[in-house]
């Protein structure tokens, strides 16, 4: 205490109901006689701690038990918030556990969260609001048990949050159950004979765990066992929040804290327990402080402009094309099937792109999943002059089959007046129900142009020729546009594929005698 005769009294004009102030007044009266001798000095409480705890409640007193460490830690954090001038920027996350009502006390923006999820919530706030100073205040059940994953992952990402971890070796709010930090031999309501490592393992060391990660800037363990420890704790809190003020990244402060109620300890008992038992298991020290070595983490500003959006999605606004309903053109069901890797899906997409270019209604639906990876693959392309119902080619007008299983699987679904084009390597095929079918030497044609993989494009060329001769469904220009879209990311393949498309069409023109 200061020996100057200065008197700091909280301005309590609006605090007529404040019990603390009432008490002070009474105290003042009782001691009027000795006031000449002793000046009553009240340290001014920082703005960052509320006078009355009215937020979300009508409590006037704190909900913490006498002798609990939470009150001390809350005050220390509040003081540092004011001292660093970050009160307005601060967002406190209240966990589930004894500190669930943290928002009663901290005079700053507050978000209350689900059990263990505070670091994830903190991540969301911090990413959304670059300037916010995000603090997560958690107990040992919350942080080290149910929220262990969120804790480690947020630390590992180096989120810009300060985590205050209250380690009192016990679940408080729920009534004194064993925590991950409970000491060996320690009696709790769920370790009634003392924690036995044969059944429950050993106390978990959070600072040490987090110290294995690269991203955190500050990792420190402090204690609230006695006034000296409390002062040192405040220094650590100040470092942690300075890091946040400068936007440098993740800081983690573990606080060894008394829980006299659940651990059935008196004043001396709590101090002894922390000093003689907890500190042995959980050494108080700075594990890491690289605040001087790192700069601020800077992230980009969000861009919401339509110009930027149109640019990244390649949207061209001016061509004014739109789909027009044409009820004379009924749905055409195309099924393309073969092995995964034969370009079955991309052939379908090229065909669909071509139809899209001609302002037709079109849908492309792939059989997806494990089948994509080496097994059989197929896709449905439905093209229509009016809105498409089912995107699946249940009854097939055109089947493009690149292997025997594909033929076997889908031949029964081909309409009587449908058509089948199949890869000549399928072998001799006698036909089915007199359905029109054509054998196409796709491999030979593609191989001749030195791109044996492009059998899908050969088949599209044949289909293009078939469509041209039949009723001019899709023009060559549209097929080429389709190829350009499909190979947009592999530009050098576009020219070659157009050549192959033409070769397929030429072969069909010269060799196939379409029956219609």
């Amino acid at each position: 205490m200061s020996n100057k005769n200065t008197r700091y009294v909280e301005d309590n004009k609006n605090n007529n109901h404040d019990k603390n102030n009432e008490t002070i007044k009474n105290y003042d009266k009782k001691n009027e006689s000795i006031e000449n001798e002793y000046e009553t000095i009240i340290m001014k409480k920082s703005e960052s701690i509320n006078n009355e705890f009215t937020r979300g409640n009508s409590l006037k007193t704190t909900h913490y038990c006498g002798g609990c460490g939470h009150g001390i830690l809350t005050k220390l954090i509040g003081d540092v918030m004011s001292e660093l001038g970050i009160q307005e920027r601060s967002v406190m996350i209240s966990p589930v556990g004894c500190a669930v009502f943290g928002y009663y006390y901290f005079n700053c923006g507050n978000v209350q969260t689900a059990h263990g999820r505070a670091p994830a919530v903190g991540t969301g706030i911090s990413r959304a609001e670059e300037e916010a100073i995000v603090m997560s205040y958690q107990g040992d059940g919350d942080l080290a048990s149910i929220g262990l994953n969120e804790t480690l992952q947020a630390a590992n990402r180096g989120e810009k949050i300060a985590v205050f971890f209250v380690n009192n070796t016990v679940y408080g709010m729920t009534g004194g159950q064993m925590a991950p930090t409970t000491l060996i031999g320690e009696v709790t309501i769920t370790s009634q004979n003392g924690r036995d490592p044969n059944y429950t393992g050993f106390p978990i060391h959070m600072c040490e765990l987090i110290d294995n990660l690269k991203a955190p800037v500050l990792i420190e363990r402090v204690s609230l066992a006695n006034p000296m420890d409390i002062r040192l704790a405040k220094v650590a809190i100040r470092k942690a929040l300075q890091i946040q003020k400068e936007g440098k990244g993740y800081s983690f402060i573990e606080v060894l804290s008394p829980c006299p109620t659940n651990l059935r300890q008196g004043v001396k008992g709590t101090e002894d327990f922390i000093n003689k038992q907890m500190k042995k298991e959980f050494p108080v020290k700075v594990f890491r402080d690289k605040s001087r070595d790192v700069g601020s983490v800077l992230r980009k500003q969000s861009d919401f402009s339509i110009e930027s959006l149109d640019r990244i999605f390649n949207v061209e606004r001016d061509d004014g094309k739109s789909i027009v309903d044409d009820y004379s053109f009924n749905r055409l069901n195309v099924k393309i099937a073969g092995f995964g890797g034969q370009g079955v899906l991309s052939a379908g997409l090229t065909l669909a792109q071509a139809a899209c270019f001609e302002e037709k209604y079109v849908s492309w639906y792939p059989a997806y999943g494990p089948e994509q990876r080496g097994g059989t693959a197929n896709c449905s392309v439905v093209i229509s002059g009016h809105p498409i119902g089912s995107p699946v080619a249940d009854n097939i007008d055109i089947l493009l089959a690149f292997n025997k299983p594909a033929l076997e699987k889908f031949i029964c679904d081909v309409k009587e007046d449908g058509v089948i084009f199949y890869d000549s390597r399928v072998g001799e095929f006698k036909g089915y129900n007199n359905i029109e079918n054509y054998c196409v030497p796709v491999y030979e044609i593609a191989n001749k142009l030195n791109v044996p993989k492009a059998i899908n494009t050969v088949m599209l060329g044949v289909l293009m020729e078939y469509g041209r001769t039949k009723n001019n469904i899709l023009s060559k220009e549209s097929y080429i546009k389709g190829i350009e879209e499909t190979f947009a990311s592999k530009e050098k393949l576009i020219g070659k594929n157009i050549q192959i498309l033409e070769a397929g069409a030429k072969w069909a023109r010269e060799n196939l005698d379409f029956k219609f």
């Binding site: 969301g124 706030i125 990413r127 959304a128 861009d303 999605f313 009854n395 890869d423």
Partner: protein, 387 residues
């Protein structure tokens, strides 16, 4: 081009970005992963926030955080992931925070498989987590709607300060259709009256769902129900197709409604008066309209890819069990034949069972196929296929 061929999952991100979504948090799961992929690509390109979270629990809690900060935020997942998110979603509802959750349904229960199903109806439409809350649920049935409904979901989420789902399925996520891009881009301004942003204007604000006092919590619950009543009065949305003179009504949403529409077309070709009723929003469910329609139409058929989860709501709407069910489960897509068979059974009409509409023996006919010559396949040529 005005229209591009776009996958349903990609269209979600197109909608999100034009809709002013600033943050995406997600975790990979088939068949919703492309949404995560596209978010990772496009959000980063414009400096918006993207985090691949460590789990679905973390994803939804990051959503909670960014939403508490007043930003437009979303996540996307599929059944098993949505189950994990339920804790976060009830917290969003309890704290009255807006957020968009996209569910690309796969087949369950348990790990199930990655095929399409509509078995998440109950966990999405009825609330899903603990407590007396509901989610607004939009059910797109095209790639265009995957985009448009995502934008709409953000608007509804903000309007009602509530989580809003876009409920689609594996087919809608994977299929591609021409997409007309949104005409405008939204820049969302956070609302300082309730958000917590780490600034002077919002430092008094508190986001929480805890009310220790029973009366306070009851009061909050009553207020919440008032909000749902307003949603039920203002937000019912459905689509009717050939309903005016219908004698048989198919009730169907999402991809099932697309298949049902084709079935309706086939029936109409054959002079059968079949109509389609498609709830566009599943919550609020169009109970009243269905009740009206039941007075005119005798035969109701619920067409869905679940064990009849929507069927229960149809029964509630008409206050009767008199509804047929056509369904597939386990990842099998509904076949037009499944629907036509039921309509034929209900109406006595056999003309719609023509093989020109579909292979009605799909499951057993392939074994009879004998189109190949005995020497089968030239093995050498197959080798070249595999190469």
């Amino acid at each position: 081009m005005a229209n591009q061929m776009v996958k349903g999952n990609t269209a979600v991100i197109v909608g999100a970005m034009y809709g002013g979504c600033d943050c995406f948090f997600g975790y990979p799961i088939t068949p919703a992963s492309e949404i995560l992929h596209e978010a990772s690509k496009y959000f980063s390109m414009l400096g918006r926030n993207f985090v691949q979270a460590e789990s679905e629990e973390a994803s939804i809690n990051m959503v909670y955080g960014a939403s508490a900060a007043g930003h437009r935020v979303m996540t996307a997942s599929s059944g098993p992931g949505i189950s994990l998110m339920q804790e976060g979603i009830t917290f969003l509802a309890g704290a009255e925070l807006p957020a968009v959750i996209v569910d690309i349904m796969r087949a369950g229960p348990g790990l199930g498989n990655i095929g399409p199903e509509q078995g998440d109806y109950n966990q999405v439409v009825k609330g899903g987590g603990h407590g007396n809350y509901k989610n607004i649920v939009l059910a797109p049935n095209s790639v265009q709607e995957m985009c448009d409904f995502t934008i709409k979901a953000f608007e509804l989420a903000d309007k009602y300060k509530s989580p809003v789902y876009v409920l689609a399925d594996a087919v809608l996520g994977q299929m591609a259709e021409p997409l007309e891009f949104p005409q405008k881009a939204i820049e969302h301004i956070p609302d300082n009256s309730w958000s917590v942003r780490g600034n002077k204007e919002t430092m008094e604000n508190l986001v929480t769902s805890i009310y220790l006092d029973f009366d306070q919590l009851e009061h909050f619950n009553i207020e919440l129900q008032k909000k749902y009543k307003a949603i039920e009065e203002n937000e019912v949305e459905y689509f009717e197709y050939h309903v005016e003179d219908a004698e048989i009504l198919l009730i169907s949403y999402g991809i099932s409604s697309r298949i049902s529409k084709t079935a309706v077309d086939i029936c109409r070709e054959n002079g059968l008066k079949v109509g389609l009723f498609r709830p566009i929003k599943l919550y609020p469910f169009p109970y009243n309209r269905l009740s009206e329609l039941k007075e005119k139409i005798d035969n109701f058929i619920s067409v869905e890819m679940s064990n009849g989860q929507m069927l229960e709501d149809v029964k509630l709407a008409i206050k009767s069990d008199d509804v047929e069910l056509v369904n597939r489960m386990g990842g099998n897509l509904l076949n037009i034949g499944d629907i036509l068979r039921k309509i034929s059974q209900v109406s006595g009409n056999k003309s719609i069972l023509d093989p020109k509409y579909c292979n009605f023996n799909q499951n057993d006919d392939n074994s009879k196929f004998n189109g190949f010559s005995k020497d089968e396949v030239n093995k050498e040529s197959f080798k070249s296929i595999i190469d």
